[in-house]
């Protein structure tokens, strides 16, 4: 990596009047953006504001409709990612965009493999891959296929790759969405080191704490337009939120009012005894009562996702039994779970959640239709009503319900998935990292909605890396470590400190998987 030679005062990257339109949507409308040397610059805005589009247009994934981009004063117009990379701009796009079939090392060095005698030097590649991952505390088998690793690990690998390539500009589009606090701390340490070398970093996130922790300045977009640029230090949090939403955020959500005593007196909706699967999760006991929010907390790879996959029948348990309403039930697949009134928003929405080419409407009614069976089609009118209701309720930003869901911004896809399950009026809703990629405004809305549903008797099982979020709405927290349920906190015991304490006895930061 070479440090930049230009004087630090001159802007590193200057964007003027950048515009980009898609069929029926003006995603970017004359946006200006300036990135200086040695600066971490937050790019903020609601879901669908145009952040990812700005990044993709800047790096040549999309061809811009208008505007100029200058790197160190020289105009650039990359026609593809390859060209952007040659200009020393490294990017982590939203969602993990690596190749599951290639090894970790091949992913890290795709297109820039170390060569010897005209051939790829695989030994050197392995060695360098280990070195590149070292600062992140990731000591994994770099020859294993990337697909074997969890989303979070893949995310770190994507970051490491971009960092290793970006001698001038590093762009990170929601890199922290699936990371836990410890990983985020590591990432920030790396970002600060790069900043001290004069590299400019563009950082997109929906976690405002993170913005105030590392960013020097903030640019806010709304509906494809520039709202303004500020120094972080000069912008109080409430003002920032107002800038993003164009309005004040209503008071933060409150804890649900039902006391633990009353909840415990209810008969459990679903209960799992000695439930588990070899090589996946140790057998565990879990009761979920109507109206209750149970959260699963733990580090990366601690088995949270695998626990909820078992509960929903996505993976088949080989031990233990499940009962619903006191009746023993079989959970041989998601279909059984859906019939029992369960719903599940998976962690990897692109792979396991959305049906990309189908419309928002079809995605929303899919689970409801599947439960009704193919012989009883939901009439088109009714489908539209349901879709429109949830589009309004969750504020899904889409020109209309007929747009293929893959064209929505990441956060809006997540909301549509939530709508899919809410439409089935589930008795138990399972959410794996539910607010991942969702903006502050929508975040508050969704939490309020969840509370209302719980008040109506729905139970919720949540996996989240946001401990504050967990504390904000759950009455019971199950803590996992090394694929084992190690502690359960109830009612008044639930606090960030106690969760952390339960997690942190010994914390090997290694990928346990595969």
């Amino acid at each position: 990596m070479t440090a930049s030679t230009a004087p630090p005062s001159a802007p590193l990257l200057t964007i003027r009047g950048l515009s980009k339109g898609f069929l029926g949507v003006q995603a970017l409308d004359g946006v200006d953006f300036t990135l200086r040397h040695g600066e971490i610059h937050a790019l903020l805005g609601e879901n669908g504001a145009g952040k990812s589009t700005l990044i993709k247009t800047l790096t040549g994934v999309y061809q811009r409709d208008g505007g100029t981009v200058a790197l160190e004063g020289r105009e650039i117009a990359p026609r593809g990612v390859e060209e952007a990379q040659r200009l020393h701009i490294g990017t982590v796009y939203q969602e993990v965009n690596l190749l599951p079939n290639l090894s970790v090392a091949e992913n890290l060095f795709l297109g820039r493999q170390p060569m010897r005698w005209g051939l790829v030097d695989r030994g050197a590649m392995r060695r360098r891959a280990r070195a590149v991952l070292h600062p992140y505390g990731l000591s994994i088998d770099v020859t294993a296929p990337l697909g074997r690793f969890s989303v979070a690990t893949q995310q770190i690998i994507a970051i490491a790759r971009a960092v290793d390539m970006s001698a001038k500009v590093l762009i990170l589009d929601e890199p922290t969405a699936s990371l836990d606090a410890q990983e985020v701390a590591v990432l920030f340490r790396v970002m600060r080191t790069l900043r001290s070398r004069g590299i400019g970093i563009v950082f997109v996130t929906h976690f405002l704490d993170q913005v105030y922790e590392v960013c020097d300045s903030i640019t806010v977009l709304r509906n494809g337009r520039l709202v303004g640029e500020r120094r972080t230090a000069d912008l109080p949090r409430l003002d920032l939120v107002a800038m993003m939403l164009g309005r004040e955020l209503e008071a933060a959500a409150h804890r649900i009012d039902i006391g633990p005593a009353e909840l415990d007196s209810r008969p459990p909706l679903a209960s799992f005894k000695g439930f588990g699967k070899a090589r996946s999760v140790e057998p565990f006991d879990l009761d979920i009562r109507p109206g209750e929010v149970v959260a699963l907390a733990g580090l990366l790879g601690s088995g949270r996702t695998e626990t909820v996959r078992l509960v929903f029948g996505m993976d088949r348990a080989d031990k233990g039994e499940a009962t619903v309403d006191g009746q023993a039930v079989r959970l041989k697949g998601p279909r059984d779970a859906v019939r029992l009134g369960f719903g599940f928003c998976p962690e990897d929405r692109k792979k396991e959640g959305i049906v990309g080419e189908l419309s928002v409407r079809e995605n929303i009614i899919l689970a409801l239709q599947a439960r009704q069976g193919w012989l009883k089609p939901i009439p088109r009118r009714r489908q539209e009503e349901i879709a429109d209701r949830f589009i309004r309720l969750l504020d899904i930003r889409t020109p209309d319900a007929e747009r293929p869901i893959q064209l929505l911004s990441g956060g809006n896809q997540q909301k549509a998935l939530l709508a899919r399950w809410l439409a089935t009026e589930p008795r138990l809703l399972i959410l794996d990292e539910p607010t991942r990629g969702i903006d502050v405004g929508a975040h508050a809305e969704i939490i309020r909605l969840i509370e209302r549903l719980c008040a109506d008797g729905m139970a919720l099982l949540v996996v989240s890396s946001e401990l504050e979020e967990i504390v904000a709405y759950s009455r019971r927290v199950v803590v996992l470590r090394d694929r084992r349920h190690v502690a359960e906190l109830r009612g008044g015991e639930v606090s960030v400190e106690r969760i952390v304490a339960a997690i942190a006895s010994e914390t090997p930061n290694v990928e346990v998987r595969q």
């Binding site: 593809g80 990612v81 965009n97 190749l99 060569m115 695989r122």
Partner: protein
């Protein structure tokens, strides 16, 4: 189980299936376990093996090439017409044929990329065109009588223990080795796997999609051209209907060899084993010699099914239930 073993498991399983199959045949027929049968397997399937290598690359990149059989046919006709009617020396004729076949493949790749058309259809049209061009050149089967053909046909590598490797067999082995290097020790190879893994991600990671697409179809065309040369050596003639249906044989070999048709997963060596398995099935049926035309077809289908089941079964047994669900 170590990571490497697990990754090569499909390959190991496929090879084991081949060996088991060969042993069964050898136990059943007296003359089966001979170097002659081994040499025949290699020589008779040389053109198929060379084509299948190209097909492996195309499939790894997430595409498919239905034109290969027709390109083989066209190449044999082109060679025959150039050498016999045009009086050319075979060597420049070979060069022209390779350039034509490679260029044809690259053109299809270009169409696929630029117009975003499905490879299945573009190469199907390519198949029509190549076959049609062959017909236009001549519908007759033209014998090639150039002395070089005789010399090349007599060329062989003889081993003391009795194995005789003909030129086509040697060419195929060379192509397989070169292809392994290309797939795993060059950037082009990595780009291929990347493209097949996920085109969109590959593009976002800076893989030159256009260049790679054109190159991989060009390569497939080139290898089909080479297979055409081998075929014309093998038969000493050019014939526009030669190698009909070879595209399906090739795809079958590739898939038996453990490559995923969706792209991104598989090995060239697996394809080589797949070709041999197919050859073994045919040899078995010929040695048996009692099957009528229809029982032959049924037997091929059943054996194909058995091989795929064996492969899947062994994978499940060895990898355990937690293993990846490999698709045969």
């Amino acid at each position: 189980m170590t990571g490497a073993l697990q990754r090569f498991l499909p390959l190991i399983v496929t090879t084991a299936v081949l060996v088991v199959g060969f042993l069964i045949c050898a136990a059943q027929f007296p003359n089966f376990a001979s170097w002659r049968v081994v040499a025949n397997l290699l020589t008779d399937n040389a053109f198929l093996g060379i084509t299948a290598v190209g097909m492996t690359f195309v499939i790894l990149s997430g595409g498919i090439d239905l034109s290969v059989g027709a390109v083989i046919g066209f190449t044999t006709v082109l060679l025959a017409v150039l050498i016999e009617h045009g009086g050319w020396h075979p060597v420049p004729a070979f060069a022209v044929a390779l350039i034509a076949a490679g260029g044809f493949g690259a053109a299809m790749g270009g169409v696929i990329h630029v117009f975003q058309m499905p490879p299945f259809i573009v190469t199907l049209a390519g198949m029509f065109i190549a076959r049609g061009l062959g017909f236009v050149l001549t519908t007759d089967s033209v014998p090639i009588n150039h002395p070089l053909y005789g010399e090349l046909n007599d060329m062989a590598l003889r081993f003391d223990f009795g194995l005789k490797l003909s030129l086509p067999a040697l060419l195929m082995l060379g192509v397989v080795v070169a292809a392994v290097v290309l797939a795993h020790w060059t950037r082009f190879g990595a780009n291929l796997y990347a493209l097949g893994g996920n085109r969109q991600s590959a593009e976002l990671m800076g893989v030159p999609v256009a260049r790679t697409t054109v190159a991989v179809y060009g390569l497939s065309g080139l290898l089909a051209g080479l297979a055409g040369i081998v075929f014309s050596l093998y038969t000493g003639a050019g014939y526009s209907l030669a190698a009909t249906g070879v595209e399906l044989d090739t795809i079958t070999a590739v898939v038996i060899g453990g490559t995923q048709l969706t792209g991104g997963y598989g090995y060239v060596v697996g394809t080589f084993v797949g070709v041999l398995i197919q050859g073994l099935i045919q040899t078995y049926i010929t040695f048996d010699g009692s099957l009528s035309s229809w029982w032959t077809k049924i037997a091929i289908g059943v054996l194909l099914f058995v091989f795929i089941l064996l492969q899947k079964g062994l994978l499940v047994v060895w990898a355990g239930r937690g293993g990846e669900p490999a698709e045969a």
